[in-house]
Every structure is written in C-alpha cells, then in structure tokens.
C-alpha cells in the first residue's frame, strides 16, 4: 500500500527530526553543562538573563577579537582584551601617562638612543613563571619576525636597530635588543626619539611566554599565558569571553574579580534595559532618550571624549586636489558645527583642528578654515581649475542608495560655491583595496590614536616619507618641522613644533577635518569608577562592582 508507505516515510522523517534535535540537544546539554557552568550562566542567573553572573561579575557587551596574539593585533577590539591579559615593559595609566609595567625603571642614555630597562623582581606570568630579560628579547624578535608577518611590527618597533633587517628576513636576531642579565635588557634605537616609550605601550611590544608558544604554536593564544591584570578563563566564539582577576598582578590586585563579555544577544542597549548588561553604548537613535532628564537612561548616561578624528581625505596628487585653492575652498564651504548639531545631534564634536582635546599639543581655539561661502567662492576663483573643474567624486563605505547624512549636507553646501560633487559607495573591502591602491580622488576616513603623542598622527599621516601618508601630501617645510620634532628633547619646544605643523597642514587643507568622536555610554549604578578612556588602555582593574 503506497499510502502506508508514505505515512511511514513522513513519520520516519518527523521522528528522525525529533530524535536528532532532541537527542543531540540532550547530549550537548548534559555533556556540555560542565563547560557551561564556567560562568555560572544557567545555575546562578536562571534562564532569563542569557549569560553572565549578575552578582559577582561585570557584564559587558563585546565582539570576538580578531586575535588575542598581541604581536599581530592591529584593531581596537582585539586590543581591548589584549591590554587586560598581557603587558609590556611600560603601560598607559587611565590619564594616559606612561608608567612602568613589567619594568620598574628605565635609564635613558644621554644621547637618547639607549634605553636600559630593569625588570621588576615580582613580575610573573599568569603561570607563576618569572619574566626575564630573555622573554623580552624573544618577544621583540617574535613580533618582528618575517614568519609572523605582523602588520604592525614596523610601525611600532621599527625604530629599534635591526628590526627592519629582521622583518625582511636578512638578520637572524634583532641586534638592538640586548640581554644584560636576567633583570636587565637594553634597547638601542636609530635616533633619539622622545615618543619611543609611548610606542612600547602598544601590544606589538608586549611580552609573551616563549615556552607556551613553542609548545603550542598554533593555538596558544586561545588560552594565553600573559602578565596582565586579568587572565582569560573562557572564550566561546560568538558567545562569551570570561576574564578572571590575576591576584598576583604586580601593580596591585584588581578590584573586579570577574568580567564577562557577552558576545551574542542583539542590541546592547535593549539588553542593558533588560538588566542583562551593566554597560551599553548609546547610538544616535537613542541619544534623545538618554539626554531627556525624565528618562531612566539619563541618570546613568555619560559621554567621554575619544582620541579619534573623522575627516575627508583629499588625494593631494590628483586633479583638482593638487591645487590647494580647491581644497581650501571646499573646507571653507562646510559648516561642520551646524552639521554636527543637526545630523549627529552633537554626539560628535566638530573638529577644531587635527589634535583632539586632551592630546599633548592640543589648543582649544578653532584652527580649521572658517565657514564662509563668499570667501570660499573667492578662493575657488583663484584655482587653476576655475571654470574647468574636473568631476569630483568622494568615496565612502556604504551599501545604501543614499550617502551618509552628513555627506548629503556637505554636498548641498558645496553646491553653493558651484561644485557638483558625486558620492561613490562601495563595501568595506572594495573601499580599502581602492584606498591602498591610491585610486580614490577623495574619501571619508578616520584615524584613532594608538599612543598619546602628536607624532602618531601628524608625522605618521603627513610626513612625505611615511608609508601611511595615503593622501600624497608633500610639504618640505612640514617635513623639516616633523624631522626636528622627532628628536627634540625639550617637551615644550617639541609640542610647539607640532602646533606649527598642525597649522600648516590645516592651511594647506591636506585633510578636511570633520569631527572628534565621543563615547556615549550608559553605566549601571552598581558599577563604580567606570570610565571610557580616549584610547585603549587597561582599565578593568580600577573598576568596582557594588552588588
């Protein structure tokens, strides 16, 4: 009977489905419970909260880091975890001062080229093993090795003698790092550079455990043996990352015992309001609610300045942006204050220059070209392209049928001085490929400071010899000032050089600076001492939980 056969098949399929789902779930549930209980998800917080122990652990939103290997990480997400798990010779304080970490002191030679670090006697890895000068040398050599091919090695370690040769594969070791004895290591750099210590606060210069890496070269960073204030207890891809305080941490035992980053679950603000998270970011859609003094969010809302800048990059090498008059005219025609107010509800601060507030060298006066349509028209008339303007296209990342809301506002303003500009949107990967190849005429871009020194933006992005100068900006005067600032030992004179550089770059309108970012965050009352540093620094050990 075909009907019976059919019923048998259908029932079989149904039964198979039920068995597969039910059976495997049961296996996973019973077998996986021990793994689950690591963070006490189901046991202590019940079925409702979806992860995180509400009592003893701080619950933060997060995403998977690209890597936890400090030597190859180049993104802020990865760095946030890495600075808590690992450490280097020096670190940044919450106020962004350079402080000793694994080193207890550094002696700098009179010519400024030799840095002799004395390691702390109590500096140990999470495993309990003492950190020695050999670990430091190994770490620098690993980070700059040809095999690792780290995208950040040359930028952060390139000043050390021998790093470039080692990275190219022509030198077996880095001759500029010398082990003197177990507790002393000497770095020799190519020229006296006051910002060298600042660069060593970046993960590329962090100390890793040679024996762990050599015994498990492929997977060591999943359970890394670092020296930082926290140790990684659990990392379940896309689910959660659990950090536990390192009680033996040499700079003081962290107050916060456990931190759970909950990587799944959707909108962070919704989960915050549903008491599943202790911290959440506020987007432009929710900012009115957060600012409304009658809303619950308002009481826990705070904004912090960030060391990052958004700008429009003009490719100084291609028409019409090879003409300073065109760049200046476009700069004079935009009203960034009004645009920030209307389109971003002032969540971003209109840029007043290139250096952000609280950066060394920052001055509060507005140094950008002031908004003046008539002056912009006059400037444009001076251009060699006046009356025969080639088509202008600004590229940005996006997939929508329309440009970013601020870009649309700018387009209207540029129309007022007679410039019709088109916008080209591509996906992120295509945008980067075009940018790297120098194919873009102008593009929306941003820069996040990696260490709190003006060199990290003014020199790195505008020196004609810098590989990161992606707008082809060349000004011999600026290069001269930058060269002088690189080796100027007097801090005030050095900052003054950078202020002169900033002024010249703004007058040349090499970039069109738009906004400085801010972090807009809501923080539960029970979380004490939370702060959003302007750039990535270790912070969890200063936070306390009162519940």
């Amino acid at each position: 009977m075909s009907q019976n056969r059919l019923l048998a098949v259908l029932l079989g399929v149904l039964a198979a489905l039920v068995l597969v789902v039910g059976g495997l779930s049961a296996v996973l549930l019973l077998g996986g419970k021990s793994e689950d209980s690591g963070s006490g998800t189901t046991t202590s917080s019940g079925t409702r909260t979806g992860g995180g122990d509400a009592k003893g652990a701080l619950r933060l939103p997060g995403t998977d880091p690209v890597t936890l290997d400090p030597h190859i990480a180049g993104d802020a997400t990865s760095a946030e975890y890495i600075v808590e798990i690992f450490g280097g010779l020096v670190t940044l304080s919450p106020k962004l001062d350079i402080e000793m970490d694994l080193a207890e002191k550094v002696d700098i030679s009179p010519d400024g080229k030799q840095y002799t670090f004395t390691l702390r006697a109590d500096a140990v890895f999470h495993s309990g093993r003492k950190v020695t000068a050999t670990d430091v040398k190994y770490s620098i050599e690993r980070a700059s090795s040809k095999e690792l091919a780290s995208p950040t090695a040359l930028a952060y370690l390139g000043d050390i003698l021998g790093v470039r040769e080692h990275f190219a594969g022509v030198a077996k070791d880095v001759k500029g790092v010398q082990v003197i004895d177990d507790r002393h290591v000497r770095f020799t750099i190519d020229a006296a550079k006051p910002y060298f210590l600042a660069k060593l606060t970046y993960p590329t210069a962090f100390v890793v455990d040679k024996s762990q890496i050599e015994s498990n070269p492929r997977n060591w960073s999943r359970k890394p043996n670092g020296t930082g204030p926290y140790r990684l207890m659990e990392w379940r891809l896309g689910e959660r990352i659990v950090l536990e305080a390192n009680a033996k941490f040499h700079l003081g035992t962290p107050k916060l015992k456990e931190v759970n980053y909950l990587l799944s679950g959707g909108s962070a603000l919704t989960r915050f309001e549903n008491n599943e998270l202790d911290i959440a970011n506020i987007s432009v859609n929710d900012i009115d609610r957060a600012r409304d003094s009658k809303s619950d969010l308002n009481k826990v809302y705070k904004a912090w300045p960030q060391f990052s800048i958004a700008y429009i990059a003009f490719n100084n090498g291609v028409p019409p942006f090879d003409d300073v008059a065109v760049r200046r005219a476009m700069g004079m025609a935009i009203d960034r204050k009004r645009v920030a107010e209307v389109t971003f509800k002032n969540m971003l601060q209109p840029a007043t220059g290139i250096l952000m507030p609280e950066m060394p060298g920052y001055t509060p006066d507005d140094k950008t070209l002031s908004y003046n349509i008539e002056a912009a028209k006059a400037e444009l008339a001076k251009s060699k392209y006046a009356g025969k303007m080639p088509p202008i296209e600004i590229s940005e990342v996006g997939a929508g049928a329309e440009a970013g809301i601020d870009t649309q506002a700018f387009l209207e303003l540029w129309k007022k001085i007679g410039l019709t500009i088109s916008i080209r949107q591509t996906d992120f990967a295509t945008f980067l490929a075009d940018q790297d190849a120098g194919r873009l005429q102008a593009f929306n871009a941003g820069w996040i400071m990696d260490y709190p020194d003006p060199e990290d933006i003014l020199d790195v992005k505008f020196h004609s010899g810098s590989p990161l100068n992606d707008v082809g900006y060349k000004n011999p005067e600026v290069d001269k000032l930058l060269d002088a600032a690189r080796t100027e030992a007097n801090a005030n004179r050095r900052l003054d050089l950078y202020r002169q550089v900033e002024k010249k770059i703004l007058d040349d309108a090499a970039w069109l600076p738009l906004y400085f970012s801010q972090a807009h965050v809501v923080v539960k009352d029970s979380v004490k001492n939370w702060f959003e540093p302007p750039m990535v620094v270790p912070r969890l050990r200063f936070v306390e939980l009162a519940r």
Partner: protein, 327 residues
C-alpha cells in the same frame, strides 16, 4: 534504483568541483582581500604585500585553488583570516549546528501547523473559511522578519520581561524536580526566533496541501470511500491526507538543505551566533576559506537532500520509477 543513486552520487564531486572553483575564482578576482580588511588602520602597502606573498595570495588562481583542494579533500578547509588562528571547521560547524537546531524545530512546527490548515482549507473550499485561512497565512508571510522581530523584542523582552531579548542558550533547559527528576523544557531564547521563522512558512505548506487535497478529493477512490459510508474524518485522514502529502516530499528536501544555511536577519536582530550571520560577515570581509567552505557545504547539502527527496518519492509512489526512463 541502486544504480541510479550511485550514478547521481558520482556527479556530486563534479558539482562540488564546479561550485568550489567558481566561488574560489570569483572571490579572488573580486575587489578587496582579507589581508587588507584585517590590517586595521596601520596599513603600510609594502608590508601588506609581503603578508600576501607569505600567505601565497600572490600566486595564480589555479595554483592557489589546487593548494586549497589538496587540503580540502583531506577535510581541512583552511584557516580564517577574520578570526586568526582558528580553523574554518571550528568556526562554521558550531554555528551551523545552532542554525540547524532552530531551523529543524521551525520546520517541524511549520509542517505540524501547515498540513492540517491546508486540509481544512481544502475541506471548506468554496466557503469563506478557505480564503480566510489562506489569506491570514499569506498576510503572515508578507510581514518581513525585519518588521516583526523588533516589536516582539519590545513587547515580550522589554515591556513584559517574559523572554530574553536575544541570544541563544541551547534547545532545552532542565528543571530539576526534588533534585532527581530532570524535566527538559524549551529554553526561553527559542520563542522569538521560532515565531519569526515559522509565521512566514505556514502558507507555502498549507497552500501546497490544499491544492493537492482539492485534486485528491475529486478522485474516484475518495468518492468510493464516501459511497461506502465512511465518516468524513476517516475519509480525510485515511484517504485524502496521505495522497495529498506527496508534493511535500520535494519541499522537505529543499527545506532540510536550507536549515543549515541559517537566516541572516533573524540571527542579526536577535544576536544569535548562527551560520547565516557568520557567512554574511565572511563575505563582507573576504574571509576566503570560510566563504568557500560554507558554499561547498551548502551545495553538497542541496544535492544530497534533493536526491533523498527523489528516492523517497519513488519509494512512496509506485508510479514514479526513478532512473528507469533512461535505462
């Protein structure tokens, strides 16, 4: 039939070769690459080129493909660029499993609701009940998940606080009674995604069942059954139902292949760590080996499930003799 199945299976490697080579070439020739995407803001073009060289991304596509194929046939799908240090298998299979569980449960519910409503609609063809049922289901299908999920989160998650606002925590929770008896109950994270998955799905099953039930209702054997005095319920369940379900086998085949592909919007809006969202992210960031592995697995699932559906069809319906027509 055995020979037919073997012949079909022999085609599988050919299909997979074409799919994998096509995907491989498209990804390599398309703009952008994973080295550039994962470099961050410190992007010295010379350093990036050296990394490409070290990873073998500068050799020609055929060489690269052969290198990939050699490993793939041994079950090694390569390594992710976006999640450095993790093999592709480690990244995709757990996520595929999460998506598959959700998808399978949704499928069971869709069939359990869709089949009876389809029969009901056919039974009441000609009256207002039929269009009312189908109309309602069509309406449900027409609401995009993008629209239906936020209000569900707002109502059940935030306002009523009955359900978590997103995430995934397995299919079952266990209630311990007196510490000894374990009662599995569905995990509360399931409800909102299941609603989003099933509401648009009912109508296709219901309509298929309705159409074929209408046809079957006119068949001689149904008239005979009624003539010999069987109750209407017996007629419907013993004669109409089984014969109306034949076309569903094909649907089951496609649907089963579909469950491992996940669902981008549901997974994104509800923060479920499934394969749909992950595949999308891999495409956006050119995570070559992840894209390739998921495409090949989806293709293999599609081919196998269809073959399974065909075999089941032939097994159920004696009129269909698969493979016999071409000897």
């Amino acid at each position: 039939m055995g020979a037919y199945v073997v012949r079909r299976l022999l085609w599988l490697p050919v299909v997979l070769f074409l799919v994998s080579f096509g995907t491989f070439a498209l990804a390599r020739f398309g703009p952008g690459d994973p080295v550039s995407v994962t470099a961050g803001q410190v992007r010295d073009p010379k350093v990036l080129d050296q990394i490409r060289k070290d990873r073998g991304l500068d050799s020609n596509v055929v060489v690269q493909y052969v290198r990939w194929l050699e490993k793939a046939v041994q079950g090694d799908f390569g390594e992710s660029y976006l999640q450095k240090g993790f093999s592709v298998s480690e990244l995709i299979f757990p996520r595929m499993w999460i998506s598959a569980q959700l998808g399978l449960i949704a499928l069971v519910i869709i069939f359990a609701v869709g089949i009876p409503t389809g029969l009901l609609a056919a039974r009441f063809a000609g009256s207002w009940i039929d269009p009312a049922i189908i109309g309602t289901l069509l309406f449900l299908q027409a609401i995009p998940v993008l629209v239906i999920i936020p209000p569900l989160i707002w109502l059940f998650g935030v306002q009523l606080d009955w359900l978590p606002v997103g995430g995934w925590d397995g299919v079952f929770d266990i209630w311990w009674v007196a510490g000894v008896i374990a009662i599995p109950i569905p995990d509360p994270h399931l409800y909102i995604p299941l609603v989003a998955f099933t509401l648009p799905g009912f109508v296709s099953v219901a309509r298929l069942v309705r159409v074929s039930a209408l046809e079957v209702n006119l068949e001689d054997f149904v008239r005979t059954a009624r003539a010999k005095g069987l109750s209407e319920a017996a007629v419907q369940f013993r004669h109409v139902l089984p014969n109306s379900l034949l076309p569903l086998i094909t649907v089951v085949g496609f649907a089963l292949a579909g469950v491992i592909e996940g669902a981008l919007f549901v997974e994104t809006l509800l923060g479920i760590n499934g394969i749909g969202r992950f595949t999308f992210e891999a495409v956006v960031s050119r995570d070559y080996d992840v894209i390739l592995a998921t495409t090949v697995i989806f293709a293999a699932a599609f081919v196998l499930m269809n073959l399974l559906a065909e075999i089941a069809y032939g097994f159920v319906d004696p009129r269909v003799r698969i493979g016999s027509s071409r000897g």
